[in-house]
Subunit: 190 residues, 2 copies
DNA sequence: CCCTCGCTAGATCGATCGTTCCAGGGGCGT
DNA sequence: ACGCCCCTGGAACGATCGATCTAGCGAGGG
């Protein structure tokens, strides 16, 4: 396959980004984890580390946006279910693997403008996908945007707290609060 | 003064942590920014980079916890005011200086267990301070804990989104939502 | 059969990082 | 005035990082 190696680099890079952030993304570790030689990386990504990070972050943003669009209505209303998925991901990885967008968002933003823009685009993709779902459920336009932004922010922040404390509690607390916020914003609660 | 240099290192380290995270905290840049020679750093902090980061993070946690405890009641109810302070800090620093606790939280957690514990402690200090204030305002015990955790999570996450998008909008949206959440949790809204 | 080209494979370079080490300076008590 | 000790000042080291370069493998068309 033509794009198989390139795609594998992207997937492994997202994993490493989720664990160690942008600085911690080592190209030597990346090649080893992907089972590819060092030179192959620069063949597929001539732009080096920055291009790899941008591709991985952008790809994750599109994937997560599509996932939100494919969610059943009840999962959008009970927003807390999104947060429980991160509880699984964290406890499965010994609280190491966070969000592949949020983790490099902070330590890569000041380093590379391209990474910052990729992160902003990925967040925008997730937020707009969620806002569309909320609007379709009856939340008025700008309220839906604000609510979606708040939910994504709480999601990233709760992931940060959960990793630091090695506990699912922050994700559970924020998830329940977001569910309550969505229910309050809906025209009527069934 | 005895602890003057040590304290200056701590303050400058917090600034660099807030901008670049744990990996990005360069000891050469730190000594230069603090106006101290390279060797002084290792004199005051024999543990090197890790000890400096732990001290800076722990200090910031205590300081922010104390700040929350000193807030007037109306500022605790209108939680969004906390978020506006970060809008100022971000726009003043060209969207570079984030939270000195949240920024190293993600990229330092997998690197150093001591840093992760310091971050967890700082978050716990902020959360418990806020929970105490909410409880004093009439929010029942465990609800206050959950609410405080949600607010801190939304604060950190909104800061992350605001830095990436170079816009105050996420902090404003999350701030308003958290204010609404607090008002809904209070026994009566004056 | 051979030539071409996408891809693998890894040695290597310069820069930078955290760390260690030692030499000099200045205020304090005696 | 003298010696002690906390602190400053910076050189030097080994390790590691991202990036560059060149050589070789191997399938597919002439």
């Amino acid at each position: 396959m033509a794009g198989a190696s390139r795609e594998r680099i992207e997937v492994v890079a997202a994993e490493l980004l989720a664990r160690h952030g942008y600085h911690g993304l080592g190209l030597k570790a990346l090649s080893q984890a992907a089972g590819l030689p060092y030179g192959s990386i620069y063949h597929h990504f001539p732009g080096g580390k920055e291009e790899i990070a941008v591709a991985a972050i952008t790809g994750c943003g599109e994937r997560l946006g599509g996932m939100i669009r494919g969610l059943p209505d009840q999962a959008v209303v009970a927003t807390g279910t999104m947060f429980e998925a991160m509880v699984w991901q964290l406890s499965d990885s010994d609280w190491g693997r966070g969000c592949p967008i949020g983790t490099p968002a902070l330590d890569g933003a000041t380093e590379s403008a391209a990474v910052r823009e990729a992160v902003a685009g990925a967040f925008a993709a997730m937020t707009s996908a969620l806002a569309e779902r909320l609007a379709a459920l009856g939340v008025p336009g700008d309220r839906a945007d604000h609510l979606a932004t708040t939910i994504i922010a709480a999601y990233e922040g709760a992931t940060m707290l959960a990793r630091a404390q090695r506990s699912p509690a922050p994700l559970q607390a924020a998830g329940e609060a977001m569910t309550a916020l969505v229910r309050a914003a809906l025209p009527e609660t069934p």
